[in-house]
């Protein structure tokens, strides 16, 4: 059941690659705009790199949140999922995981390449990738709550960003903080542990919260 929903969403993403590629190219372009506009000042670029990459990742994952449930809502498949005898939370967890595979993982893989534009040292690139790997699933999970709450509303896209972006702030702070700490030569594992803790908490609570919001949205 959990595997079926993941398989289904991945199949759908494969049939509609444009949706996936838009998110990835948005991320690439936003991250690349900064070095072009600020100019080749290595020190400044290095200091701003973690923040820029993380903000771009946040915005890119926001961009794809609207599609998480709305397509299923329109064609009635979401209704059928609500009537499934299996737990709806597990289903939402599967959908969030598929969303992360499709939108989060490509960002994680691209980040080290984009980091080179900012002249980040190799170990900082590794920390950036590790932080993104831990942090992007949190974005998908928290995003699922926002997407479920704004389902079927007019102008839901703007509303979802107002709801979800504030909740992304802790991940942003510790995600960018890990890389800054590494570059400053201090320990960064506390930052990563905290993001890991966010991840565990959101795996437990976000699917449940999103499932309850879906039931309300579809009533």
């Amino acid at each position: 059941m959990f595997m079926w929903i993941i398989k289904r969403d991945l199949l759908l993403a494969m049939r509609r690659q444009s949706d996936v590629l838009t998110t990835l190219f948005f991320f690439i372009i936003v991250v690349s705009l900064f070095p072009l506009s600020v100019g080749p000042e290595m020190n400044m670029l290095r200091t701003m790199a973690p923040g820029v990459v993380w903000v771009a990742a946040l915005l890119a994952s926001m961009l794809s949140l609207g599609r998480m449930f709305s397509n299923d809502y329109v064609d009635g498949t979401l209704e059928q999922m609500l009537l499934s005898p299996q737990s709806l939370s597990l289903l939402v967890l599967g959908k969030a995981f598929a969303h992360w595979l499709v939108t989060g993982v490509p960002l994680v893989l691209m980040a080290p390449v984009l980091g080179i534009q900012y002249d980040l040292p190799t170990d900082a690139l590794l920390v950036l990738t590790a932080a993104l790997l831990l942090g992007t699933p949190v974005l998908s999970l928290i995003g699922a709550i926002g997407a479920a709450l704004t389902l079927g509303l007019r102008g839901g896209g703007v509303l979802v960003s107002l709801l979800v972006l504030p909740l992304y702030i802790p991940v942003l702070i510790f995600g960018a903080g890990a890389v800054e700490a590494n570059m400053a030569g201090v320990a960064f594992d506390a930052h990563l542990s905290l993001i890991g803790a966010f991840l565990l908490v959101s795996i437990v609570f976000a699917p449940w919260a999103a499932a309850s919001s879906l039931r309300v949205s579809l009533e």
Binding site: G76, L83, P85
Partner: protein, 204 residues
């Protein structure tokens, strides 16, 4: 088996219906009738557990469906206005995935048999978006052939179907009633189903 007690539905500040009572035994078909906007779909969604009645209670085998949750969902198949199929998936993928999500996994051969029965032979590998309205409806209704549920809740199942398909569905409904199943459906067409008990519910 399925019992509705004093059901009421309120949309906004308008009361669509109130004091609806019915009791269905095994092998019963309940046809819900009424003009557009009289609350037929709202009643059906309540019976599925998608929304809560403004007043009253729905009992399944004597227990309120709100306390049954998953156990109730495993006994119900709902086919609503929306087809519940994904345009980008093929016909057979749609049927297999929707069955798996409804709790009963089916093999490829089971799925293609059901599709053949529904007159979709040779179209298994086509994406649903290239099918006609009636064919999409057939894909949705093919779930009835592979599900193992007792209670079928069907919202206008005969819409967009041709004469042959309507006959096919009526036969399917008959067989389900003979097996001791329960059906609640809305339709504007006359249905020709021979069953021990067909009840009608008129919403004003």
């Amino acid at each position: 088996m399925l019992q509705g007690i004093n059901l009421a539905c309120v949309r906004g500040d308008r009361e669509l219906f109130k004091d609806i009572n019915f009791s269905l035994e095994a092998g019963c078909l309940l046809q819900v009738r009424g003009p557009n906007g009289s609350g037929k779909t709202s009643l059906l969604r309540m019976l599925c557990g998608l929304s809560n009645p403004a007043a009253g209670e729905i009992l399944w085998r004597g227990t309120s469906i709100r306390s049954l949750n998953g156990d109730y969902f495993s006994a119900v198949t709902y086919i609503g206005h929306l087809s519940g199929t994904k345009d980008d998936l093929t016909v057979i993928e749609n049927l297999r995935i929707s069955s798996a999500l409804a709790g009963s996994e089916i093999s490829i051969s089971q799925a293609s048999d059901a599709l053949k029965h529904m007159g979709l032979r040779g179209r298994e590998a086509l994406p649903v978006k290239v099918l006609s309205q009636g064919q999409r409806r057939r894909v949705a209704l093919a779930r009835l052939l592979v599900c193992t549920t007792t209670l079928w809740i069907l919202d206008e199942p005969l819409v967009a179907l041709d004469v042959m398909a309507v006959k096919l569905i009526q036969k399917l409904l008959e067989q389900h009633l003979q097996r001791g199943g329960v059906i609640v459906m809305t339709t504007h067409q006359e249905i020709e189903v021979t069953a021990t008990s067909i009840m009608q519910l008129h919403l004003a």
